[in-house]
Amino acid sequence: MALSPFGSRSPSMTVHSPNTAIRLRATAAQNSSTGTASAAVSKPVQNGDRELTEQLNIDVRERYVKDRKVGEGTYAVVYVGHLRHDPSSLVAIKKIKVNAEYKDGLAMDAVREVKYLQELKHPNVIALHDVFSSKDQNLSLVLEFLPGGDLEMLIKDSDIQYGVADIKAWMGMLARGVWWCHENFVLHRDIKPNNLLIASDGEVKLADFGLARSFADPLFNMTHQVITRWYRPPELLYGARQYSGAVDIWSMGMVFAELLLRVPFVAGNTDLDQTSKICEAFGTPTEENWPGVSKLPYYIATDKAHLVPLQGRDFFMRQFPTAGPVGADLLMSMCALDPRKRSTAVQCLRHNWWTIEPRPTKNEDLPRKSGGTKKMGDDLTRRGGELDEGMFKSAARQLDFGMK
């Protein structure tokens, strides 16, 4: 539900106001009756020449002002902008580039992003406020402004320290985002730390729905080439064409491991390498521990000599000591090789790791990008109350006589 939170709803997100239509009709009539005897080129100066949807689109476009470019990729350009009538309310405007080589119209990523973000509204999913088209038929998405960077930055930044309470907070937010998607029967299919953006209040949000799709009806094939390799579950590497939300849970497990270790846990260079690394880390899939696996298209049986047995809880506890035994148990449930044995999103959230000590840190206490925003925030907040310049300016210093 992409309702813009900025007070009144944007016209494009509501049933069109009948007034707009009446306005158009009136001006149209006006134009034709006065008879524009000008040459053939119709310059759309007045409202009357615009069609209803064009007018609505312009209304939406006019609500936002672009400030400056903050990023550019092959697929889109991102600007920071704000609401025209409220310069303090920031938004991110993502303008999708038209790829001349892609002849099939609007790219699938864009289509998916728009489609699913319009339907999903949750504190842990990035909010789509509006969509409009710019003058050159490019699509622009008005998204929530998330200045805190992404989780990958926090993990990689060696100046930032975090502990298990922070990990618990972040994982909780990720789990909720994923759960919400699954509740609405949407698979995200690209969960990884740099798709987890951080808002100014510290809340983690799931972004980049370019690979998402709704759960499949039975007997419908899906592609197995989804999810970034390091976070891809074994069933996809084995080429499964029908799968479930468990693929997202595996990615979540990999993110969890990465938060704990501060390096990606299973990082293969090719798909084959990834599969073998997974086997080394978690154990080799066999018909015993994963019935039916041999029927998957790209399954390769390993000979008995190289079989790694399925790792148990002690392995996880050894590898991830920071998580503690309960945390290791949760991680293990997310990383089960057989997708049927993997936790579902609901089960993850019902695990008792969330409720045992330590408590997940509050958003305001979570580590931020080193320097930058927090520093600025601190400085700005210190200027409390009314500063009474003058008499007592220098009295504030407390004299320290080396007490005790």
Binding site: R23, S244, L296, P360, G385
Partner: protein, 370 residues
Amino acid sequence: MASNAASRRDEDEVCPVCKSSRYLNPDMRFLINPECYHKMCESCVDRIFSSGPANCPVAGCRKTLRKNRFRKQTFEDIGVEREVDIRRRVMHILNRREEEFDSKRAYDDFLEQREDIIANLVSRIDVAKTEAQLQKYAADNMQSIRANQAIEAEEASSFQARMSLEQEEARLRRQAVRQEYETERREIQAGREDFLTRLASGSSTDAAAIAREGHKVLLKKSSARRSEEERIRQKQAALRLDNKRVSNLSTVEQAGAADTGLVKGLRKIKTPEPEKPYDPFMGYVPEKRDYYSLQSYYPSQYLDPIRNDARMLAGGYDLREYYSRTLLEAFAGLSCFVGEEISQRDAANTSKSTATEGASMAVEGGENTA
């Protein structure tokens, strides 16, 4: 503190009580008692007070003194000593911190108040009243006083710890630099000798070449060593413990008791409610349904074969997701009465925009010739 030097000056030659002079006891030391701040030598203290409290021997002062309260004087001026003691005592009690106040003004007021009290006590104005004030405040705010004391202690100890850590690091660094210097010198030495031997053994044309080579080798060695050390240093820095996270000392205080009447302008301390347990779902209730109870299996001719399709199931395909979805879609919106709800919403919208649009509409309506 120039205490030791000062106490050795000539004016302190004689103890006011026993009149013995430094000439006779070179190691004579003076003590004072914070009751009356009279000075006397150690031996007097021993002699007079060892068997219990007694009156101060200085003429005119009848204060009862105890032996254990005698201590060395830290300041040259006894007045200062007394003031500092008073100050210390008052600040021990009135130890509110800046962050507890609503505004800077309030904090400044508090500081001024404190100074007033100290001034009174020092100049012996309204002593009784001031003391009473202090005692009352102390009694009322025992908890906050203690909490603040704890914070101060913590700060002091961590400060100490940081100091010693830094000193240690500095020492290590100096050592490292020294070592590096040594090794470099040795290498240069060795290089030079090697160079000389080679010159001696080689021909004259080789001389220049050998010279250049030797120089290059030295440079390479030193740069290699430097980069190696740099790397080590970086690794050490990464492993260093970060003291950024101060423990969360919760200054839990009673909300009401803050305003004792003495100290004004304290920030209203919210008594933190007992924290609600962490809800992983943050308010949402999963799997709650009104129209139906979701089952884990529904018989269906069309779907049952899937339960036996090993390949589909191996990929993780879960029929329960499908059941859940179809059941939800079967009933979602069943009681949404679109006609009603939409007309309500439209009415609300038009009434909102009527004010602004009304005028323009009226104007246009008149011109509408269609």
